[in-house]
């Protein structure tokens, strides 16, 4: 639990704060500029979804290490959680172009491609938790 931070997303400023924190942590961990941009963009998407579709939520950022992968791998874990309306059909929202807000509908499928691991859990009426990881190569 060395490097952990939690940013509340209640307005547009929260999105900017989360991005800044993500950029700093990924730089500290040792990610190159392209991966830094990928991680920061993913955080931006997740944070903006919280801002757009829920009242309030948070982004947790954490440096992680995995001993199972031959030797030691380091990475960043980004968890976006909210107690908003939840998502009815998880398969729909992962399709490129699906949007309920007139956006591009590229956010969630984009995050999946930007990061290495992606997991989404959502219960309608209770909220959504999206966990993503990027490994340092």
């Amino acid at each position: 639990m060395s490097n952990h931070s939690c940013i509340e997303i209640a307005n547009e400023w929260g999105i900017v704060s989360a991005r800044q924190a993500g950029r700093e942590l990924s730089k500290d961990i040792g990610f190159g500029s392209v991966d830094q941009a990928r991680i920061t963009t993913a955080i931006s998407e997740l944070a903006r979804n919280i801002y757009l579709y829920t009242e309030i939520g948070k982004i947790d950022l954490e440096e992680i290490s995995d001993n199972h992968r031959n030797g030691k791998a380091r990475g960043i874990k980004v968890v976006a959680s909210d107690k908003g309306p939840g998502i009815e059909n998880l398969r729909d929202v992962m399709v490129d172009g699906f949007t309920t807000s007139g956006g591009l509908g590229a956010g969630l499928p984009g995050v999946k491609r930007l990061m290495d691991e992606f997991d989404i859990e959502s219960i309608p009426g209770e909220g959504t938790t999206i966990t993503t990881i990027k490994w340092l190569r």
Binding site: A37, R48, L104, L114
Partner: protein, 282 residues
Amino acid sequence: MRSIVLQHMIDNKDHYIEQWRVSFDQLLFSRSESTIKPQYIQDEMKDEFVSVIFDTLTMDRHSRRAVVKRFVERLIHDGWIVSEFIMSLQKLRRIVMKDLSKHYDKDKFVDLSSELEDWLDEQITDLTTEFAKNHEEVKAIQKVALKELSAPLIPVFDKIVVMPLIGTIDTKRASQIMENLLEGIIEHRAQVVLIDITGVPLVDTMVAHHIIRASEAVRLVGAECLLVGIRPEIAQTIVNLGIDLGNFTTKSTLKKGVETALQMTHRDIITNEEPVTGGGLK
């Protein structure tokens, strides 16, 4: 007829100025933007405030407001915090009250202290009103400046304009960009707009969406958009997000963008074979 309290304060002006000024020493008048406040600047400001309050005792409200207005302008310009000046008026109240209670019997004192309150209320109202008014004006000016700064449009050649974007793009700024783009195109009769995103730290779906929408709007008013200054890492994330910029002409640098824009407006860059000598006007 001047009120008894004011006449009393005018008659004992020097006495009150001295006492009030001493009470200032416990107060630290501070400035919002810095903690460094040399003693002499503090003293100067305190003296000025004393004279604003005491020199205006003999004035009518209208002329007094003009003095207060000038004083507040200076406060704001130098970044002083107004609340401390108002707090110091409470000290003056206490000092005058104490004297009044010594000189007058109880019934008279009640009358006089309400007179004093009225006068103080007026002072505080004038100070805060001027302060708020001035703040609003500053805010209005800053808003205009921010609007110009957040999405500037620069005509570089006949029919060609550039919009360099620097910094984070939020919803408000995105709509500013759209507005300035369309206004600028019409004003400068532009045919090509170069949007330079070299200074934009991150292009997510929202930013991309706004750029795409802006370029569609630009097309509707009869011009073309060129997207320039896409850094390599930004190009990568745009691809990862699956955003299709196929309808866009993109160039890596502003320089290449300008060259393309010149071609689009049927102009060439010619290098003279013989160097121009003399350098004077033709």
